[in-house]
């Protein structure tokens, strides 16, 4: 033993304490003694021995009770019981209370030695097990950290690749627009000029939308919560998107609940959400080759009529709809159902803003018939100040 193992010897007979104490000291233990249960508990708390050797029959608190109290104090303590002749029942009872072993009086040195050896083997095994467990936990922590790091790197790679792809698409579109404008100027062809200019304008708008979505997503913009009219935002979006809808031959209609109260939300963020949803809806209707009807988009505001939210919007279109297999991917970054026309950022950003508002966004779609997106926000249980926290 490098460091002396501590042992607590408990016996009401002074003679035994003395003889056994000397014997244990000779064997290299750091011996503490107590003459009764109460004293033993006190010494135990002070010295924290790993092994306790206690007489079973003592006045006051007996050995069995002491055993129980010690195990309660520290379940890892090894307790060896000392029993007299005719105390076999008590000895067996003590084993039930998780005594490590028992030795009978008069104490045979060899027997005690074996009992102590077993006790310390048990202690040593427990320590090893604890070390392994701790190492394992440490290992798991290290590996998890590595995994998170790898996943983060992969996510960054994916983001960069997705962005590069989106930018390449827009740049390609611009390149096409510039080409058509150049041909228009070269040949003095107004039709080319007009077409090319439309292409350029569309792509400039796409770049702008992408930058705004990215900024929103990257948390560059801190939500600015105000007590504001939800219909005000809806009207601004309708006015902004009107020309686009007209250009694509889509009817853009309003269905606003004029009784909606002012609520706490970030008007600019919600403006972004509605712009994204209405743009998608118009695009879905412009693709009207899949349905023989006139495109129609309705932006509705409503009171959710439940305890959870104060306001909501619905953007419904009668466009091509979203297939079931597309649904789970809708809010993922850089996933777009619009091919080269989409960046795959709009819905992702929309969801993030709605999440920031403590709201929810739901989508229902009937392929070939149309799609409805529903946002519900302005939770009842907190104001804007609380949602900023």
């Amino acid at each position: 033993m490098n460091v002396k193992e501590k042992i607590l010897l408990v016996d009401d007979e002074e003679g035994i304490r003395k003889v056994l104490g000397i014997s244990l000291s000779d064997k290299g233990y750091d011996v503490f003694t107590a003459q009764d249960g109460e004293g033993a508990l006190r010494v135990f708390k002070e010295t924290k021995p790993s092994v306790v050797l206690t007489d079973i029959k003592m006045p006051g608190m007996d050995g069995i009770e002491l055993l129980g109290r010690l195990k309660k104090e520290d379940p890892d303590t090894e307790v060896i019981m000392i029993t007299g002749h005719g105390e076999m029942d008590l000895a067996i009872k003590s084993l039930k209370y998780e005594a490590t072993d028992f030795v009978t009086k008069p104490i045979n040195d060899d027997v005690l030695e074996i009992a102590l050896k077993r006790a310390y083997e048990k202690i040593s095994m427990k320590r090893q097990l604890r070390d392994y467990t701790q190492n394992l936990e440490k290992l798991v922590k290290e590996q998890s950290a590595k995994l998170v790091e790898t996943e983060r790197a992969a996510a960054v790679g994916q983001t960069v690749a997705g962005l590069a792809h989106a930018i390449k698409n827009i740049a390609g579109g611009l390149r096409g627009g510039v080409f058509v404008v150049e041909k228009g100027m070269e040949l003095g062809n107004d039709e080319y000029l007009r077409q090319g200019w439309d292409m350029v304008k569309t792509d400039v708008a796409r770049i702008r939308a992408m930058a705004l979505d990215l900024l929103n997503y990257a948390k560059e913009r801190i939500p600015d919560y105000k007590l504001y009219d939800p219909n005000g935002v809806a009207r601004e979006v309708l006015a902004l998107m009107g020309p686009r809808a007209k250009e694509y031959g889509v009817a853009l209609e309003a269905d606003l609940d004029e009784d909606l109260p002012d609520v706490w939300f970030d008007p600019e963020g919600m403006h972004r959400c509605l712009t994204n949803l209405v743009t998608n809806a118009i695009d879905a209707c412009a693709d009207i080759t899949c349905a023989e009807r006139d495109g129609r988009v309705v932006l509705k505001s409503f009171a959710p009529g439940n305890e959870q939210y104060r306001a909501g919007y619905e953007v419904a279109d009668n466009g091509c709809g979203i297939t079931e297999e597309m649904m789970p991917k809708l809010f993922q970054s850089f996933f777009s159902t619009k091919g080269t026309k989409g960046t795959g950022l709009g819905l992702m950003t929309t969801k993030k803003i709605v999440d920031e508002h403590g709201g929810d966004i739901a989508v229902q779609s009937d392929p070939g018939k149309g799609t409805q997106f529903v946002i519900r926000f302005a939770p009842m249980d907190h104001t804007g100040a609380a949602s900023e926290a």
């Binding site: 390449k168 698409n169 740049a171 390609g172 579109g173 390149r175 096409g176 627009g177 080409f179 058509v180 041909k183 070269e186 040949l187 080319y192 077409q195 090319g196 439309d198 292409m199 569309t202 693709d287 080759t289 899949c290 091509c320 091919g339 080269t340 026309k341």
Partner: protein, 133 residues
Amino acid sequence: MEQKVLVVDDELHMRNFMTTLLETSGFEPLAAEDGVKGLELAQTHKPILVIMDVMMPRESGIEMYRKLRDDPELKDIPVIVVSAVAKKTFFHSQTVLNQYRGERIPEPAAYIEKPPEPEELLEVIHSTLGGEG
């Protein structure tokens, strides 16, 4: 000799770009916004070349391409696919369909991933047609 070239793409701006490119290069462009209309125009006009997208409503380019190749009158018209779908994906889908249906549809004359560069597209158009003649 008639220089009709059919452009099939659901994106208006892509159609405008390609028809302008073709028109200003001496071709007579025709445009359709999906596979169904594209096939109709091909049957009516018998263009010398078809430039087509893959992801389109109603009928995708994957199906339209196979129908072009299945039509005895249209099967020899060269096709350039211009798509955001990766080249590998498109060719893989054609291989799988060939195996699955026991067909032997040949690969298109050329494949350009979107967005196409004007010069690149023009070069491919000329080399495709040159190879034909």
